[in-house]
Symmetry: C2
Subunit: 339 residues, 2 copies
DNA sequence: TGTCATACCTGAACCGGTTCAGTAGTCCTA
DNA sequence: TAGGACTACTGAACCGGTTCAGGTATGACA
């Protein structure tokens, strides 16, 4: 079947292309009876607007882009991103926007090159980004490129927003975790964070310190990279032969490192939660299924993705910069803290 | 900065748009010195072709689409798809194609509506699909819509291919699993498959039966839906109070159901692998981390995604229908079968 | 009756590329 | 020296929408 076009519809109805366009887009300039005739014919012939023609004349691509940077072989292990993606996609679909996905390696230059290309080719109308970095070059880059964006996990700021983004109150989340441990009698805890280059990890570290200090608790910190082995190694270094300080609880930056921590405890002959308690800063099926099951902060990635996408949509069609605070996360108490 | 266009380049160089276009696309019709001048200027001005203009005039969108149908809240639990996605995306990027992702619920009508829309709007040049269904309406639909596609997990066919796709030799995979169990002394096994509406599940059931029969082993089958609870419930029904037959090993259709099976065994007070062995038809971190760790068929989703995407690329630019057989999967022997 | 506002509609330009048909100039060959 | 082949280039049409400036017809009002 040959594709119908606006010109085709116009010819069949004996009217001009312009009228057909006005009718189809609900714009004034056509009578109700003409509009109906156009709409009926369009439906009958299964006419759809050509997305590229529309993109060209409207200078809007109708798509937003998202770059996932991670080792392709490890990407499947992060359920958090899949959840985000699901939330993002449902919100975008409601706003009639398509999602363009790109996966690149861990080299940050690739992510930036992708943005440059997208902007140059006008392939996406906006971009969703994650994880604010220390001295993050990306906001300035995107501003220079004229690409609207939303940063999921933006720093909290007082005063007017510099860009759209979602924020998380790390102080509340930290207090939730630390209080939980304090209540269970822990006085010396460890915090194995993700990489320090992520701003939110720095903030978490500071907030955990503050919350602990308020209870008179001591904190040791280690830097991990979110991989299983990092959690494992950190725990070995904290609690193995060379350890001197009596750490009785470990907070780990994500679910994978928490799993690594459990493995390490088993190797070291330490019982969980009797000897050492474990808390994960990210919930997932892994935390539920592990034995012992792991107490975790539940962050609801689907909802977060949805909110981030909604921010982007409103930025795109109203130009309103805004930040939105994520609701505080709930702690799901499980066996690893003796609950 | 105002966007540069081909017309702008042409004006600056004092030549025609046509020459600029030829020069930029490596087409004949311009002298080498002109080509260089165009290329140099384009680089200097950071010119990129407008994707929508190009799409319009070439009648090619430069994107391929993929619909993931699943409950948004459960999508994160299937690492297999994330791996596929990663493989697909890297292959597409090499072929300079963008990936358009759409997530819909479990209603198959939504998937079909998406294809209709994509075809009507000419938003994608082709589509990647998964999981051949019983009497699958999708190939016929896509043919009618004129949308090229690749079906990952197509039925094996003798004779010319009706469409492009990847195939898996379920007989080999089944034999791998069944032989492994036979070798360990199991004579009565259970097979908890995924939903029968998937063709590959039917084939797996038949192949397991055949492999088992060859060894004189008996097989009981149950149908699951890939969810944790399904694996749990199936095992309870197979091995709980009401069970009569002495099943000593259970094959589960994916990693989640395998985890459910482990939970059920624990509840029933059965030891794994001493009382009952478990094999998962899909490997993942869950299988590695479970205790006992679960013997699983490793399917390498990243590679599979890559192959599927390559098939689509060659279909799009050469029109060659082809099917490609996936290499046989390896069985990763772990504790759940006493390895 | 003339003037004006309004509703409805149209031709043409435009978005930014690709591509076809045609022109001029050069060189080779008979 | 005419003819043909080839190279380098150009103007214009085209892809399929959107949108602007204008053109009629109609009715309201003075």
């Amino acid at each position: 079947m040959a594709k119908e076009t606006i010109a085709g519809l116009a010819k069949r109805l004996g009217i001009s292309k312009a009228s057909v366009s006005y009718a189809l887009n609900g714009q004034p300039g056509v009578s109700e009876v003409t509009r109906r005739r156009v709409l009926d014919l369009a439906e009958e012939l299964e006419w759809y607007p050509s997305s590229s023609a529309r993109a060209l004349s409207r200078s809007r691509s109708g798509a937003v882009g998202m770059v996932l940077s991670a080792d392709p072989d490890l990407i499947g292990t992060e359920p958090y991103y899949m959840g985000l993606l699901a939330g993002i996609e449902t919100a975008l679909a409601e706003g009639d926007m398509a999602l363009m996905l790109r996966m690149v390696g861990t080299d940050p230059a690739q992510e930036r090159a992708t943005y440059e290309r997208w902007a140059g080719e006008r392939k996406v109308d906006g971009v969703l980004m994650f994880d604010h970095l220390h001295e993050d070059p990306r906001p300035a880059l995107l501003d220079r490129l004229g690409l609207p964006f939303v940063l999921h996990g933006a720093p909290e700021r007082h005063g007017p927003a510099l860009f759209s983004g979602t924020t998380t109150d790390h102080a509340v989340d930290s207090a939730t975790i630390v209080d939980h441990l304090h209540l269970r009698g822990h006085r010396r805890i460890a915090h194995v964070s993700g990489p320090h280059r992520f701003l939110h990890e720095e903030q978490r570290i500071a907030c955990v310190r503050r919350s602990a200090a308020a209870h008179g608790m001591a904190v040791v910190t280690r830097e991990g990279n979110y991989a299983l082995a990092a959690g494992h190694d950190a725990v070995v270094s904290l609690l193995g032969d060379t350890a001197e300080d009596g750490v009785t609880a470990v907070i780990l930056g994500n679910d994978l490192m928490s799993m690594g921590a459990l493995l390490a405890l088993r190797e070291l002959g330490l019982r969980c939660p009797e000897d050492v308690a474990i808390v994960s800063w990210d919930d997932s099926l892994h935390c539920q299924l592990a034995s012992p099951s792991v107490t975790a902060l539940s962050r609801n990635p689907v909802m977060q993705g949805r909110v981030a996408a909604e921010l982007l949509l409103s930025l795109l069609d109203a130009g309103t910069l805004q930040t939105r605070a994520m609701p505080a996360s709930d702690l799901v108490a499980r066996s690893s803290t003796g609950s």
